[in-house]
């Protein structure tokens, strides 16, 4: 049988069954439950199931209690102490570690005690022939192996330091040369200006002299032209006079020739 409560009241009924509604909301819902058949049946069904489930849970109570008691009994009989179990690994294995250390120490001393005795010189000769070169070779290799990174590091550091110093010196020399260049350029500019002003003065003096000379020449030329014009005028006048004076003579001579 399907239950069909009002969709907008279902949540309220659920909350009411859980005891989540306020007294006023509960009173309002109770009124609705008494009026609405679908919601009333839904609520009754929930109450019925609640009763049934509570009875079912109560029927399990004795078994739950027995199980709980059994667990507590098993817990009391349990020999593992959490404090010991909670210790980190080395402490938990302390006895195994101690036994291992004792065995290793005993083995070491037993080996030393029962090893065959050897002649010291023979042992040294054998050592110097066979083991010493190997040790030296391995030592050298190990030293090189170990020192290589440090040497590389030192080389890199030195290179970096030299690069930094060179850069610094370059920057200083560039700055110095720039200063010197600026000074030289300034001096050169001043010299050029001096020379230019002197030349300008010379040129202006020369021009002045030329102008004076030109004016002087002009005046002389005008004077000469004037005197020449006067002389020419006088000569023309004299020539004209002579011409007038000589004209009768010429006419007589022409008549004579004819």
């Amino acid at each position: 049988m399907n239950l069909n409560p009002c969709p907008n009241h279902k949540a309220d009924i659920d909350a009411y069954c859980c005891g989540h509604l306020s007294p006023s909301q509960a009173a309002s819902l109770q009124k609705h439950l008494s009026e609405c058949n679908g919601c009333g049946r839904y609520y009754d069904a929930l109450i019925q199931q609640d009763t049934r489930l509570t009875a079912w849970a109560n029927s399990l109570d004795s078994r739950i209690q027995a199980g709980q008691d059994c667990l507590l009994q098993r817990l009391r009989e349990k020999e593992v102490y959490p404090a010991l179990a909670s210790q980190p690994w080395p402490y938990r294995c302390i006895w195994q570690l101690a036994a291992a250390v004792i065995l290793i120490t005993a083995g070491f001393f037993a080996a030393r005690l029962f090893q065959p005795a050897m002649n010291q010189e023979q042992l040294f000769a054998e050592w110097s022939q066979t083991i010493q070169p190997q040790i030296e070779q391995k030592l050298a290799a190990a030293v090189i192996q170990q020192l290589r990174p440090e040497l590389l590091q030192i080389r890199n550091d030195l290179a970096a330091q030299m690069t930094a110093q060179i850069n610094e010196a370059s920057a200083q020399s560039i700055a110095l040369s720039q200063t010197m260049n600026a000074k030289l350029i300034r001096e050169f500019a001043e010299a050029v200006q001096t020379v230019q002003s002197r030349d300008r003065q010379v040129v202006s003096d020369a021009l002045l002299r030329l102008e004076e000379k030109r004016l002087q020449d002009k005046r002389q030329t005008q004077k000469a032209v004037t005197s020449l014009a006067l002389a020419t005028g006088e000569e023309i006048a004299r020539t004209r006079r002579q011409l007038f004076e000589t004209r009768p003579v010429l006419s007589e001579s022409s008549n004579t020739n004819q």
Binding site: Q68, L71, V80, A83, S86
Partner: protein, 171 residues
Amino acid sequence: MDERSDQILAAQSRHGDKTAYEQLVLRHYRNVLGLCYAILMNFNDAQDVCQETFLRGFEKLRNLRDDSLFANWIHQIARHMCMDSLRRRKKTQRFSTLNVHPCSLDGDYLDLTTAIAGLPDDYRIPLVMYYLDGHDERAIASHLGTSQSTICRRIQTAKQLLYERLSEYQK
């Protein structure tokens, strides 16, 4: 009931105080059992798994990083052990000639337990935990990682579904 918090009791248990751990057992046994029963739907299996859960919890307390989260931690262990138990049950059922229903040992309430077993997980687990743990919605909501109102709604919906299924059985 001991008024010490879970945090204090867990810390004391870690240092070997069995009475403190007994208090934790008394406080959380029903809730964990409810979870186990809801997953396994067999009371005897649930009791066994619940007991093993608490014993394992006692051994593994050093793994608990935050003592205040003991309840969630023990529920997590219970959940894993239930999953292991379900896997073992499937293996044994494969080779078993008897097809025993998981609820068949639960006596007078066979119809009810069968109907509960048929509910979806989201409804079955809060419903069983609610009735086995004395109607503590807040604790259930905390363990299942949801809100109290959601738990309430799911429980009521579960009861509605139970009513409908039991009505069908009676027909």
